[in-house]
């Protein structure tokens, strides 16, 4: 756990997954219906 909390790479991966999740939410709310 200590390694995880102090690891820059772990933080990078978690943050990227979170960001992609947020982008997916945006996609489903605003973009899904208007795409070609």
């Amino acid at each position: 756990m200590n390694w995880f909390l102090n690891s820059m790479l772990a933080y990078w991966v978690v943050l990227l997954l979170f960001s992609l999740g947020a982008a997916a939410v945006i996609y489903f709310i605003w973009l899904k219906d208007s795409l070609i």
């Binding site: 102090n6 933080y11 947020a22 982008a23 208007s34």
Partner: protein, 355 residues
């Protein structure tokens, strides 16, 4: 949704403002325009491809003024360095675009261009990432040895070589504390401009590393000075885009409203961190943009058959902007916590500035 009379489409205002805000934050922090993130996003929102480019460039011109004013206050601009480079940059972009048109007439394919631009981005990413990692390690070692480490530390020895070139006239950049041949600065401008014009990639993420690793400026000064550069080159680019019929000013306005907040936060955030933190975010933006480009390329090369690839490409294009913003906010939050003696992850102290 808003009906844009000039662009001729309806697009969600919230997403335009959000895009302006996120890219403003990233641009204010790492000194880029952010076009490589914004243009694909605008196409996803429904704008025609040519208008996406034009709206982006016009908004970059305005956003860069906002960020430059803040960076001026923070002492991050070397006017001599910036103004010496401007002429070279604009000449370089013009040369790059003409070279592109010439090679296209000879039959150069889009795939070759994409490969070239991806090659540059990966090369820059690797060099910046490796150098910054070594710099971070050295900061940790020096701190353990009881030394006070300043705002910037770079382990690259390239600047020493370029600063030793004695071609007159020699310029003295007072803020950046560089004494260097004017021709080196002009050639940096021309070379980065040619790469930008030819490969259609932004100038910022090539110029900032060039200012750090070739001219020897600190990262903060490279960021501020590059944003000054972008005001001039962006303004000129915006005029050309408008003349080509690629700009919807109302869409630009919505993005500027977002950038108003984002660029402020990004610029001010530089005062909370050391140089290597900025270089890390720059390298992340390079690798994420390259991955996004690969996903889009893969979708196109598979004949646009697989909708899940399109979904991933869109989610990645939007997600990379959100990621970079959240990372910048993380650095600021942890910097404040560190100043107050609270717990922060082990990788933070070397990246944040202590007053």
């Amino acid at each position: 949704m808003f009906e844009f009379a000039i662009a001729g489409i309806s697009a969600p205002i919230f997403l335009l403002v959000l895009t302006g805000m996120t890219v403003g934050m990233v641009g204010g922090f790492i000194g880029v325009g952010g076009g490589y993130m914004v243009t694909p996003a605008l196409i996803v929102f429904g704008f025609p491809g040519y208008m996406a480019s034009g709206i982006d460039v016009m908004h970059i011109a305005g956003k860069s003024v906002v960020a430059t004013i803040r960076h001026r206050q923070l002492g991050n601009i070397d006017w001599i360095l910036g103004l010496t480079m401007v002429g070279g940059t604009m000449m370089g972009v013009e040369m790059g675009v003409r070279l592109l048109n010439y090679t296209k007439a000879l039959g150069l394919s889009g795939i070759a261009l994409l490969t070239g631009s991806v090659g540059i981005m990966i090369g820059l990413f690797l060099y910046t990432q490796i150098e910054t990692h070594k710099a971070q390690k050295k900061i940790n070692e020096l701190t353990k040895a009881g030394k006070t480490v300043g705002r910037e530390l770079s382990v690259s020895t390239l600047p020493l070589f370029f600063q030793s070139i004695a071609l007159r006239p020699i310029v003295r950049c007072h803020t950046a504390r560089i004494v260097i041949s004017m021709w080196v600065i002009v050639i940096i401008g021309i070379a980065t401009g040619v790469l930008a014009g030819f490969f259609g990639v932004g100038g910022g993420f090539i110029r900032v590393p060039a200012l750090v690793y070739i001219a020897g400026a600190t990262t903060h000064i490279a960021v501020g000075t590059d944003l000054l550069e972008i005001v001039v080159s962006g303004g000129y680019g915006a005029l050309r885009q408008y003349m080509s019929g690629n700009v919807d000013m109302i869409a630009v306005w919505f993005m500027i409203i977002g950038a108003m907040f984002g660029a402020q936060f990004g610029s001010i955030a530089t005062s909370f961190v050391r140089g290597p933190a900025i270089r890390y975010i720059l390298s992340y933006s390079l690798v994420l943009a390259t991955t996004g480009a690969f996903l889009r390329l893969f979708y196109m090369l598979t004949g646009q058959q697989y909708q899940f690839l399109n979904f991933f490409a869109i989610v990645f294009t939007l997600g990379e902007m959100i990621f970079l913003c959240l990372f910048i906010m993380t650095l600021v939050i942890f910097s404040v916590r560190h100043r107050h003696g609270k717990w922060v992850p082990g990788w933070i102290p070397s990246l944040v500035a202590t007053p």
